[in-house]
């Protein structure tokens, strides 16, 4: 399949009158088919009007789109880590990635830039810590550096998701790339759950061994860690809540990043508190603090984990109550040409983009167009954008 560079945003606004292009099979036409389909899904009622009313330049389309080839090269070479790529290929991939990162930073929105800044701060900090730890032979610093590196890796994945999600849907990913953000949010949530479990294990360890593992030099690193993470919390302060109503895909991603930095700062604060209490002579201070931090992080992450898990598990959209769906089904079956609803399935690609698939048993010989329109209208009110309706005649 040839990939053409979609610098021309006008593609999205082609009029549906060009039927002849349906029969041809170049990549352009498929793009046309998909772009038309997004307008089609708003109901077959007034396609012409919708076309004309659409602005020339979509607000979400940046003026310089990343050429898809870059991502194709990346995806194929980075993930096929079987050593297939020749050395020269690897160098060009690296160059491509550098150029891509630069492009993303220049054209990305504010959150992307902030996240990149945060990641670079973290990387710088953890490398310094690693070097100092290795040079002075302090194991605690090295382990902290490793933990930070893991976190950085996850944040980088979130960044990658933010950048990739702007790509248009293509042949392989017919629903687009926005779902990567949900996936990144889920991975972050998963990591935070792991962290909470490991902190609980550490607390147990401290309880059993009854000796303080945190030497005083770790406090300096904890304080710096806390400061870096607080900067992160400030960057993403709009998402510093436990329960958020997710309206777009980015909401989940930003929320997960924010929770990540909050959890990290709570952990650092816990360590500082533990060492202070220990210096005061409080027994089992470490166990208490670590346990508290573990429980707090777990409770912070749970709603995000459940929400992202639900989207990934193809759960029905949480913002559409079952009663509304049932009401729609009743409305449909109340029509005299519909005998029964065989199958009704709804799921979210990303929060805010609901997809539905419906199968109806209808009386033979009826004209399905008004029925189609009616069903589309009924579900459009609920916010279901993409609906596929199959009418089985008896």
């Amino acid at each position: 399949m040839e990939r053409s560079i979609s610098f021309n945003p006008r593609f999205d606004n082609e009029f549906p009158n060009e039927r002849s292009s349906d029969i041809g099979y170049s990549a352009n036409d498929r793009r046309l088919a998909y772009s038309r389909s997004f307008q089609q899904s708003h109901g077959p009622r007034t396609p012409a009007v919708t076309e004309a009313a659409k602005p020339y330049l979509d607000r979400t389309v940046s003026s310089i789109d990343m050429p898809p080839e870059i991502y194709a090269v990346d995806g194929n070479d980075v993930f096929s880590g079987e050593g297939k790529a020749a050395a020269a290929g690897k160098v060009s991939v690296l160059l491509h990635m550098v150029w891509e990162i630069y492009g993303v930073l220049r054209n990305g929105n504010r959150q992307i830039k902030r996240l990149f800044l945060l990641i670079s701060l973290n990387v710088a900090y953890s490398t310094t810590e690693l070097l100092i730890g290795l040079l002075t032979g302090r194991v605690g610093l090295v382990s902290d550096a490793f933990h930070l590196t893991f976190g950085c890796g996850l944040l980088t994945f979130s960044l990658f998701a933010m950048a990739t999600s702007r790509k248009k849907p293509d042949h392989a990913y017919s629903y687009g790339y926005k779902r990567l953000e949900v996936l990144a949010a889920f991975t972050n949530a998963l990591f935070l759950m792991f962290m909470s479990f490991s902190l609980a294990v550490e607390a147990l360890h401290a309880f059993i061994q009854d000796e303080s593992e945190h030497k005083h030099y770790l406090i300096v690193s904890a304080v710096t860690n806390l400061l870096v993470n607080l900067i992160g919390v400030w960057f993403f302060r709009h998402y510093a809540r436990v329960n958020i109503a997710y309206r777009k895909a980015e909401d989940m991603n930003y929320h997960s990043v924010c929770l990540h930095v909050i959890a990290d700062s709570i952990r650092s604060a816990g360590l500082i508190l533990a060492s202070w209490l220990l210096s005061l002579g409080v027994e089992n201070a470490e166990v208490l603090c670590l346990g508290l931090v573990s429980v707090t992080v777990f409770m912070l992450v749970m709603p995000l984990f459940k929400a992202t898990g639900g989207v990934l598990l193809q759960m029905a959209p949480p913002n559409i109550p079952s009663s509304a769906l049932n009401k729609c089904l009743r409305q449909i079956t109340s029509r005299e040409d519909v005998m029964e609803v065989l199958q009704a399935r709804f799921w979210e690609v990303v929060p805010g983009h609901t997809v539905g698939s419906l199968r109806l048993q209808v009386k033979s010989g009826i004209d399905e167009r008004p029925l189609l329109q009616y069903v589309y209208d009924v579900y459009h009110d609920l916010g279901v954008q993409d609906l596929t309706l199959q009418t089985d005649y008896t």
Binding site: Q40, P44, R179, M315, W347, Q390
Partner: protein
């Protein structure tokens, strides 16, 4: 798809992390048996079959119970062996054995997730979970892969720390014995890993000064494990992203549908998997004004089932 997964599993490191292959893995641990995935594919051949028909459920349930029992046996055996390995590893002061034990631990966790996924597959679809719970398998796999990466990272860190600080004496003979037992019990999956540890143990036994082999083995095994997870991760990602499965040729499908009589165009074609092996399709088919919608619908569904083996389709017929 099945031949591909079988091939992957028969290769070297079939770490039981491969959850979606867990049916095959169970096969390897016990004896040859038709894979569960294959069974589901066969029974869901008819167009009217939903994912959670009563027919399929009862047939699945029996096979699922058998798989669950086998997994339970595997979990118990592995837990027993882990205790042996941990004790042996501490006594011999060998990090490679402890690495093996940790991988076994992750295997156990993976088995546990497999068990949970199998159990969850049996849950009936609810109005809120209209596709059933098949995705849990995939999320479980993602969970175990993340755990593997975490464990590998921890072990690499430990290896480096040991390398840096200088470890204690490593008892070669004990290493050899414990890992020989390990090779026997662990069968295919970690065979190479255990052989490697055996070789390492033998070398250290022969030349006790070369205790660095122990640490090098750990690093090598971690890299191998990470390598095998990358491919699985790719599959998981593709399913979770609702991408067109690689075994379906969407271009050919579209062309084929358009060649059917009375069909003018196909658009909004979405093909995605709910889990590996279960593919769904939804599209809009534009037909000529005067054509009989019912007949065209039957032809299209027939074509898709016969030529592309996708049984769960939803086709919207639109007239020009």
């Amino acid at each position: 798809m099945e031949s591909q997964t079988q091939h992957e599993c028969n290769n070297k490191q079939c770490d039981s992390v491969e959850i979606h292959h867990h049916y095959h893995h169970v096969v390897e641990i016990s004896s040859g048996e038709a894979s569960l995935v294959g069974a589901i594919k066969k029974t869901c051949g008819e167009a009217s079959c939903g994912f959670s028909d009563d027919k399929t459920i009862s047939r699945d349930a029996a096979e699922r119970k058998a798989s669950m029992r086998k997994l339970l046996v595997a979990v118990v055996l592995c837990v027993l062996f882990i205790t042996v390995e941990v004790v042996g590893g501490i006594k011999a002061n060998s990090l490679a054995i402890l690495t093996d034990a940790a991988h076994l631990l992750s295997d156990v966790a993976a088995f546990a997730i497999s068990l949970f996924s199998l159990w969850a597959l049996g849950w009936k679809a609810t109005p809120r979970q209209s596709y059933g719970f098949f995705r849990i398998e995939i999320l479980g796999a993602l969970f175990s892969v993340q755990m593997i990466w975490l464990l590998a990272g921890i072990l690499v860190y430990e290896a480096i720390a040991r390398l840096h600080n200088g470890s204690g004496e490593v008892e070669g003979s004990l290493m050899f014995i414990v890992s020989a037992f390990g090779a026997y019990l662990h069968a295919l999956g970690d065979l190479i890993q255990s052989i490697g540890v055996m070789i390492g143990g033998a070398i250290i036994w022969y030349k006790p000064e070369w205790k660095i082999i122990d640490l090098i083995c750990t690093l090598v095994f971690s890299v191998i494990v990470l390598g095998t997870t990358v491919k699985m991760l790719r599959n998981i990602l593709e399913v979770l992203m609702e991408s067109t499965p690689s075994e379906v040729d969407a271009t050919k499908l579209e062309k084929g549908v358009c060649e059917i009589e009375d069909v003018v165009a196909v658009h909004e074609l979405h093909i995605w998997s709910i889990t590996l092996g279960k593919i769904l399709l939804a599209c809009h088919v534009k037909i000529r004004q005067e054509a009989d919608g019912d007949i065209v619908l039957d032809k299209v569904i027939d074509y898709i089932i016969k030529e592309h083996n996708i049984s769960h389709v939803t086709i919207q017929i639109e007239r020009q």
